[in-house]
Assembly symmetry: C2
Homo-oligomer: 221 residues x 2
DNA sequence: AGGCTAATGACAGCCACTGACACTTGACAA
DNA sequence: TTGTCAAGTGTCAGTGGCTGTCATTAGCCT
């Protein structure tokens, strides 16, 4: 970090305004619903004009994803740090879990973990937000695929395996998120448990006969 | 089909208006872009009021997905018709391919295949539409998971495998669609080829070591 | 202190979408 | 056939997300 030299009043003010907008937005979204809160309300809560809100965020949704974005960036870093001897899916699995374990450090400067969990559930249960979430995930997947390809010394566009592996992983993560938000335990531990449980089912789910207890998943993650 | 008795003038008129709106919308979307065409333009092209458009479609996007919806319904039918001895992923794979093979019969009453392909590409390349597409896909996945579970005599909520299998399949299909739209061959054959090629990579992509040419995908689809 | 520029507010306007109400037009029974 | 009813449509007014423009304010830097 070479941004240690204090950023100057102007920058600090901007950061504070932005964080305040995010906080106000998430608080309003999670308490009265996404569609039922207007941008004017958010702006008023922070005492800025509506126009200013749109100078910080391209749209109402963007505010809803501001914190999630931080965690995704962190996740990518964690994947990059994984030792090269791990298989792609093993590296991805460990990185996600580690990301959840360090969630608080990542976001505490903006909002408490509890509000973030409520936001996450809101996203999963609000059609308009879910749609955006899935598209954002698709973008993340592309970055992941390139990372994995680089890791394995492959060409993403020549070899389908990086994208396929990421698609499989990501598909399972989606089911996880959906199942978590549909349940009633909104804790980080609950997510962790679901992730490991579902990832362990990838091998078995691909075998021909679901009634045999064979070890087909033996050499898959 | 017990809808053989001619539906009456009122119904037929409604259907014609709806089809005309879809055609006009897709034609405009694909020629001048989704965001740049207004609902007023679509309505005017069919000579109805803007209000009427919104009586047929909940939103501008819904018109963009009207045809895709028909193909998805058909796909579900095909999955249901698959013989029970096929493994889940095998059944899904054959159903998708068959769906593409019979595309024209499914949609010809509304638009030509060529316009549909252009629409599909538009969806993949327009952020707002891609987001909705992914959400709609998620809904489809849920239906698929229930179908597969029923097929295998399992409880969807107790056994994770149906959802995981569908997630894997669906994730790969997504990559396929994305790769197809990024290429320059917008034919049905091109999609078919991509689908088979990518599905064949699921097994290999999950193995530990990507440098060995082992047969790890042997008993997976 | 004073000039420069980034950040903001105020205002006007576009477009997607909705509710309310009046009018037109198939459907169907007398 | 005609009259009645309900479904379908047009018009209008209004809300909310979002953008361009321009004048004003407020950090920054010499």
């Amino acid at each position: 970090m070479d941004t240690l030299p204090r950023p100057g009043l102007r920058e600090r003010k901007k950061q504070r305004t932005r964080d305040a907008l995010v906080r106000a937005a998430l608080e309003l979204f999670t308490s009265k619903g996404y569609e039922r809160t207007t941008v004017d309300e958010i702006a008023e809560a922070v005492d800025v004009s509506q126009r200013t809100f749109f100078r910080y965020f391209a749209g109402k949704e963007e505010a809803a994803f501001a914190v999630l974005e931080m965690t995704e960036a962190h996740f990518l870093d964690l994947v990059r740090e994984r030792p090269p001897h791990e298989s792609p899916l093993e590296a991805l699995r460990r990185a996600v879990l580690e990301n959840w374990d360090t969630l608080n450090e990542t976001i505490e400067s903006v909002i408490p973990v509890e509000l973030h969990m409520r936001t996450f559930q809101l996203i999963e249960s609000t059609p308009a937000l879910l749609a955006v979430h899935l598209r954002r995930t698709a973008v993340l997947e592309e970055k992941l695929a390139r990372l994995i390809a680089e890791r394995e010394g492959l060409d993403v566009d020549a070899d389908p395996r990086p994208r396929v592996a990421v698609a499989v992983f990501s598909g399972v993560m989606r089911v996880t998120g959906q199942r978590w938000s549909a349940g009633d335990d909104l804790s980080v531990e609950a997510i962790r448990a679901l992730i490991t449980a579902y990832l362990d089912q990838v091998g078995p789910a691909l075998t021909k006969d679901w009634n045999t207890q064979d070890e087909a998943g033996g050499d898959t993650v």
